[in-house]
Amino acid sequence: MLTVGLAQMDCRLGDVAANLEQHLEWVERARQQGVELLLFPELSLTGYRLLHLTSRVALRIDRSSEVERLADAAGEMAVVFGLVEEDAEGVLYNSAVLVRGGRVEHVHRKLYLPTYGIFQEGRFFGPGDRLEPAPMADRRFGLLICEDLWHPGLARRLAVGGMKILLVVSAGPGRIGSGEQPASHEVWEVLTRSTALVNTCWVLYCNRTGWEEGSFYTGGSHIVRPGGEILERAAFLEEELLVAQVDPREVDRLRWRLPLVRDVRDDIQGPGF
C-alpha cells in the first residue's frame, strides 16, 4: 500500500518565496498524515499564468536553494512540485520535479504545451522531449503535466512500460455550466477515468484552486482506481489536502481479468502512425 497526498492549493502568481513557504507547510501537514507520495499542482512554485513574468521566476534546478529546501524537507516522502525550469542553454520549461531524501530524483518537462484559446504556453516555454519513469525507491511512476494527458499515447506508453500509477499535475482553468460539477471538471474526469480504464492503471490527478488574472482553477483533484472508478475527490473551488491509500496490486488483479495492456500491439498496418 502507498499513502498518497494531493495538495490542492492556491498559488501566488510570480511569488516563489511565498509559494515555497506554503509548500513547506503542506509537506509538514502531509507528513503528519503519513503521506509517502505528495503531489503539488502544475507550476505550483510560481503560479501558472505568468506570461512575461515567466523568465523572471525561472530556476536552475541544480543551483536553486528553493529546490534544495524542498528536497531536504521531503525526507523519506516523495514530493512532486512544479516550477519554471531554466536549462544550461537558457531555455525555459514547464517542469515537474520529484524530490526525495534531499535529492532531485526526476524532472519531467511538459511535452505538450497548449497554445490556443486561453493558453499561451508555447510562447514562453520550450517543449520537453523525454518520457521517463519517475522513481521512488524501487517503485516507478508515470508523471505527466496537464495537457500531456490529452495525448493518450503518453499514458499508454507509460502503462506498457510497466507503470501502474500515473501522476498527473495540472493547473486546469475552470468553467461553470449548468451541471452539478464545474463543466471543466466533467471533461477532466472523462479523461482521467478513461485513461484509468483503457490502461488499467491508477490515475492521481492533482489540480490547483484560486484565481489568476480573471480565471479560476477548479480544484476537484481526484484519485481514479484501475478500471475507472473514482476512489476519492477533493472539494471544488477551495484548498484541500486529499489523502488516500493506493494499492498498486489492484492493477495486477484487474489486469488478470482485463489484459488490455498485455494485448497492446504495435505491428498493425494501416493509416496514421
Binding site: L13, G14, G47, R49, L50, L51, H52, L53, G174, I176, G177, S178, G179, E180, Q181, P182, G210, W211, E212, E213, G214, F216, F236, L237
Partner: protein, 278 residues
C-alpha cells in the same frame, strides 16, 4: 440542431457553483490588491444588486460601500429599490446627488447637449465619484457590467464600464437574473425592466430595440459558438435583429480594449510585455 430551447438550456448555470466562484474572485481581488473592501454604485437595478450581493458574501457587509448617485431626473423608484437591496444584504449606503456636478458643465457651456451626451456625463460623474471614494476608503471599484451590454457596447466608455474588478462580465443578462434570484436579490429588482435611468422612461430593451432574451441567444451563437450571421438567421432569428446585434458588437469593440497604445519599441506595454496584474 440549435433551437432557442437548447440555447436557453446552455445558458443555465449551476447558480451555487457560479456564486461560489465569483465570491472567490472578489475575495481574491481584494486580497491581492491589499485593499479594505469594495466600492460600488447601487442603481436599483439587478446588475449592481448582484455585484453587491456577491461582494457581501465575499467580504461581509461592513466591507461593501454602496453609493446611490441620483440625478435630478432619476426615477425615485430606483433609489427605493437600491435601498431595498441594501436592507436585504445588510450593507450601508450613502446618497450623493450628482445633479449640481453634471449641470454645472452643461448649464454654463453646453446648453444644447442631447440626452445621450448628458447621460454619458452622468455615468462618468458616477465613475469619478466611485473612484474618489475608493481612494478615500482604501477600496477597489467593483464593476457591474454584464456580458450582453459589454458585447453590445450598451455602456459609457470610462463611465459605467470602468471598474477595478468585474464579477459579472462573463454573464449574459439572463444569467444575471438567474444568479440574482439565487442569491436573494429582492424580487421587484429582478423583475423590473432594465433601465440605465439616464432620462425619464428610458429602458434598455426600448433603446436597443432588442429583447435581452434574443440578444443573449444570438450573442451566444455568434460569440461563444462562432456561428455566422446566416447560420443564426437560419435557426429562426429575425435577419434584421441578427444584423443589428452583429453590427453593435463590431462597432463597440473599442470599448472593451481599453488603453490602446501605439507600439514603437520591442517592449510595448500589453503587447510585448504582458505582465499579470495579480
Amino acid at each position: 440542431m440549435w433551437s432557442p430551447e437548447i440555447i436557453r438550456a446552455r445558458l443555465e448555470l449551476n447558480a451555487e457553483l457560479a456564486s461560489k466562484a465569483l465570491t472567490g474572485f472578489i475575495a481574491d481581488g481584494n486580497r491581492s490588491a491589499g485593499t479594505e473592501g469594495m466600492v460600488l454604485g447601487l442603481s436599483g437595478g439587478v446588475d449592481s444588486a448582484l455585484s453587491a450581493a456577491l461582494a457581501t458574501r465575499a467580504l461581509g457587509p461592513e466591507r461593501v460601500h454602496a453609493f446611490i448617485l441620483p440625478y435630478r431626473t432619476s426615477n425615485p423608484d430606483s433609489r427605493a429599490d437600491a435601498e431595498a437591496v441594501a436592507a436585504e444584504f445588510g450593507f450601508g449606503t450613502r446618497v450623493i446627488d450628482i445633479s449640481a456636478l453634471v449641470d454645472a458643465y452643461f448649464d454654463a457651456d453646453e446648453t444644447e447637449a442631447d440626452n445621450v451626451r448628458r447621460g454619458n456625463l452622468m455615468a462618468r460623474a458616477r465613475m469619478a465619484i466611485l473612484f474618489d471614494q475608493a481612494k478615500k476608503l482604501g477600496c477597489l471599484v467593483l464593476g457591474t457590467s454584464n456580458k450582453t451590454e459589454i458585447l453590445l457596447g450598451y455602456s459609457t466608455i470610462f463611465g459605467d464600464n470602468a471598474s477595478s474588478l468585474n464579477p459579472l462580465g462573463d454573464l449574459y443578462k439572463q444569467q444575471v437574473w438567474q444568479l440574482s434570484e439565487h442569491v436573494g436579490v429582492p424580487t421587484q429588482v429582478v423583475a423590473k425592466p432594465p433601465s440605465a435611468d439616464l432620462w425619464p422612461g428610458q429602458t434598455d430593451e426600448g433603446e436597443l430595440g432588442i429583447a435581452y432574451a434574443t440578444a443573449d441567444e444570438v450573442l451566444y451563437l455568434m460569440f461563444n459558438q462562432g456561428l455566422s450571421i446566416d447560420e443564426v438567421i437560419d435557426i429562426g432569428y429575425a435577419a434584421e435583429t441578427v444584423r443589428k446585434i452583429d453590427s453593435l458588437e463590431r462597432r463597440n469593440r473599442y470599448k472593451r480594449r481599453l488603453m490602446l497604445i501605439a507600439r514603437l519599441s520591442d517592449s510595448a506595454i500589453n503587447l510585448d510585455r504582458e505582465i499579470p496584474r495579480d
